[in-house]
Symmetry: C2
Subunit: 196 residues, 2 copies
């Protein structure tokens, strides 16, 4: 039921936008009473947050698959950063209404973003710790501190506001590559860039 | 006269906000005819852009003073990045109306931002080229390419939108230090961070 409500809410949000998303329309769409929906989501705000949270969860699921797979950590770091940026870029063109909703919900309810950012930070921390162990990222000192710095340093390429106003996707991905090169020069093996 | 009009426009913008800034009010404030103001600024949009351009020019003047002074390039790089971030942070609290105006004008007239970004990029390129010469930034390959990457990597700390929504200034400056450390690990002398 929880999932069915979220599915309906997400569909209505995509179609009519966040400002028009409310419990009454969702329950009408599902042919159920408002009370029924309110039992799952105590308010319009809770419902909106839950839709955006699930949507962000799909992003961190995709990046998580990269974080947790096998292989040299430096390559996973590159793939993780490229994937995160590519997912966000695609949303600008293919899922604009939900992206706009996410920007709004995150401004109103920062906890939603904090949770998402925390998940991403933990994934990246894991990759960096792996890189200390497999010696592909030998100059990582404190994985968590470095993970936060890398997420900050790539904000331009994954923050919804920045991506939405950041120019042509090709240019953005080109810019990202230069920042990735900078990051690998800082923490990767000496000479690893040249080998790539 | 040009300067007097800009001064009046800036003052009115600070007091009443961008949407209310127009040629009629500016000319009234200066006791001159609209025609007189229009001779200097062909439209409301041109007037608004000019106010924001001059305001941004003051930022690049301050950072330019650091770019062009004497001393080791790596230290100038650090000071330049800290100053750029600190100027923007201060504006969030002390000059919010003009910052908001700048965000709006830059969205409507990207050329204003392009010109500002270009000035900043040239200053940073100069510092990095100096760092190749004085050997404090020996691992800079192409100064301009690296300058663009560094500006991208620090967007989180100098882009008006990001700074305005980026949390407490102390936290932001703390985050910036971690990114500066990453940048210096990438292009600075080996061991230079530890010496600092």
């Amino acid at each position: 039921m929880h999932t069915r409500i979220l599915d309906a809410a997400e569909m209505l949000l995509r179609r009519y936008g966040l400002p028009k998303l409310n419990v009454v329309d969702v329950s009408r769409h599902l042919n159920m009473s408002h009370g029924n929906v309110y039992r799952h989501f105590s308010s319009k705000t809770a419902l909106r947050s839950a839709v955006v949270e699930r949507w962000l969860g799909r992003v961190s699921e995709q990046t998580g698959a990269i974080a947790h797979k096998q292989g040299p950590a430096d390559q996973r770091l590159i793939e993780w950063l490229r994937t995160l940026a590519a997912i966000k870029q695609r949303k600008v063109t293919d899922d604009a209404e939900l992206l706009r909703a996410a920007v709004q919900v995150v401004r109103d309810t920062p906890a939603v973003q904090d949770h998402h950012a925390d998940l991403l930070t933990r994934q990246l921390t894991g990759i960096l710790a792996d890189g200390k162990n497999d010696a592909t990222l030998p100059r990582v000192d404190e994985p968590r501190r470095t993970a936060v710095a890398i997420l900050d340093a790539t904000t331009r390429f994954h923050h919804p506001d920045m991506v939405a106003n950041g120019g042509a996707p090709e240019d953005q991905m080109h810019g990202l590559e230069a920042v990735i090169a900078l990051i690998l020069s800082a923490i990767g093996e000496a000479g690893a860039i040249a080998r790539r």
